[in-house]
């Protein structure tokens, strides 16, 4: 499938750090894993990013207690590829209530580690609830730990995503 993520595109500047969610076009394979995405950067240029062999996430069909380990790279534009290692477990099926409503969701717990060109190692621990009926995330809680060369600007240490509503 092809997804388009649309935001206002407005940047927020906090303590000298610019936060923005660019509008993205995302390609997803039949395991629900991203394969490519593109966005327009602040200079107006389109940046294409490619996962190899594919983005994070388990292969379908999914089952409770399923585990996986995935090594993948993400290359954006002309930048060097960044290697990632993800490990994950599907720990349960449970009822989740978010602003969009209540649904049965598969609960995925993952750890993703990568080191970028600046020498910053990021370890992201995530709990993701995916609606059994649609496969889409209804809630995701991420925490990020940084080591090695730390960013000189502010950086996210937690990111929480919730599904507000559907159309």
């Amino acid at each position: 499938m092809v997804l388009e993520e649309d935001t206002t595109g407005n940047a927020i500047i906090e303590d000298g750090t610019t936060y923005t969610i660019p509008t993205e076009t995302i390609n997803v394979n039949n395991n629900g894993q991203e394969t490519t995405y593109s966005y327009v950067n602040t200079s107006g240029a389109t940046v294409d990013c490619t996962y190899a062999p594919h983005g994070p996430g388990p292969d379908f069909p999914l089952t409770v207690d399923q585990t996986w380990t995935l090594q993948y790279t993400l290359t954006c534009g002309s930048a060097a590829a960044v290697s990632h290692t993800q490990t994950g477990t599907i720990v349960d099926v449970e009822s989740v209530t978010v602003p969009a409503g209540t649904c049965n969701a598969l609960k995925l717990q993952t750890t993703d580690t990568s080191t970028n060109a600046n020498g910053t190692t990021i370890t992201q621990t995530s709990t993701n609830w995916r609606d059994v009926a649609t496969g889409f995330s209804v809630q995701r809680n991420n925490t990020r730990a940084y080591s090695g060369t730390l960013p000189t600007t502010g950086y996210p240490v937690s990111v929480t995503l919730v599904l507000e509503n559907t159309n």
């Binding site: 499938m1 388009e4 935001t7 906090e14």
Partner: protein, 97 residues
Amino acid sequence: MILSRQLRRSSCVVRRGTHHEGNKYETLESRRCCSYDRTHHRLQRRQWQQLMPTNYDFVTPTANAQKNYQETIVDNLGNTIVETYSQTVTTVNSDGS
């Protein structure tokens, strides 16, 4: 198949009623049999669940389906940034992805 066979073996409950005729030994044996079957049945059911877990297949997305998310970011400086965005399925591939 194994689960079905266990259910049939529990029919010893019915046979106990037709054969006991005041014979305590027969009744006792039947109870043991039933108790054994129930325990065994519970074990089999657990094993069945372990061996045959529920599979959740990939769900073909619906074209034009739109989901609206709210994302809350907390950074290392203590700032909290709340952003919203929408996600729309613009194309469904021929393989259902």
